[in-house]
Symmetry: C2
Subunit: 179 residues, 2 copies
DNA sequence: GTCTATATACAGATAGAC
DNA sequence: GTCTATCTGTATATAGAC
């Protein structure tokens, strides 16, 4: 049933965000879903298949969320704030799925790495377009959006150690200061 | 001998940077050092001991490098450029050890997590002091240094996927634009 | 210090019954 | 679809000889 498969993807997503790809085992995943690990293989023959599908779903959902922000908020300031909220949803204790996978990208197949690259490229493009609506502040929109995306991923990464929102809050303050 | 122990730490550091804590095994580590895994346990009884010592050495060396920058360069611009070079030394294919450990921090013991926190705090403080020497540019030195540290870690993380210096280069351009 | 040998646990994956 | 049973490989870790 699609229900079981979705449940497995949901658990896997959270586990990877918390413990990484190597921290996710078919056995634990199955136990949490109250089935056996061999049944997990029925839905995802190889672990790489699971990783790919989880990444696909996560990035698709993220892009949809960006689209929804565009519809709900017309002002750049609100849009940036909404993006910050998206990132903050991960805390405490979780990292952006794509950030985690990027850290472990040496162990991913090319298909999944392509999804990762696309995630970063598309998110940066979205940021650039939002920034283009702001009054000019020295840096180019292309450059500033790259820096902001980097700082969002890095802040979430570092905040994970203590479970606080310390760095993410500073990034948010900085973004608000751009206006 | 201290020589063997140092060799093991050196291999372990690079392996963690490339593949993470879970990608490092005593067996592979031993093979690369041409000894047996039981001999690795002679130097590091538990894997957590190895992780801790590797982290201690890495952070100490990093702080020493910052100190050396202070001695060699007196101008903020040069100092920031030298820090960028430190970060770039990791590429291609490697991530900042502390960034990688931060991603996997759920699986670390408290002693090692403390080293991580200290690494980020000290590096941010160094950045803040450098920025305080710059002409004011809107953001506070405390806030801007947090954002810059975040962006450095995030840029290195994302650049690892493709093995390019794309995001790190944008961060560098942004930093140079601060002056 | 380094080895062989081994204990124990867990990983991903498959075969075949129901 | 889900199960039991099992294969094969690898992980951390230890005991004890040399």
């Amino acid at each position: 049933m699609a229900q079981t498969k979705n449940h497995l993807k949901s658990i896997a997503t959270r586990t990877i965000q918390e413990k990484g790809v190597n921290g996710l085992s078919f056995r634990d995943l199955a136990a949490e879903a109250n089935i056996k690990s061999s049944s997990v293989h029925y839905y995802f023959p190889q672990k790489a298949d699971l990783i790919y599908e989880v990444t696909k779903e996560y990035t698709d959902a993220f892009f949809q969320a960006l689209h929804k922000i565009d519809q709900l908020s017309k002002h750049s300031v609100e849009r940036l704030d909404a993006l910050l909220d998206l990132y903050k949803k991960n805390l405490p204790g979780r990292f952006c799925l794509c950030g985690m996978l990027a850290a472990e990208s040496n162990q991913l197949d090319n298909k999944t790495k392509d999804l990762l690259s696309r995630f970063f490229v598309k998110t940066q493009k979205w940021l650039r377009e939002v920034i283009e609506d702001l009054p000019s502040n020295g840096a180019t929109p292309a450059g500033l959006s790259s820096v902001l995306l980097s700082s969002l991923e890095g802040a979430l990464l570092m905040d994970g150690v203590k479970g606080k929102e310390k760095y993410l809050t500073e990034v948010q303050k900085f973004i608000r200061g751009l206006v």
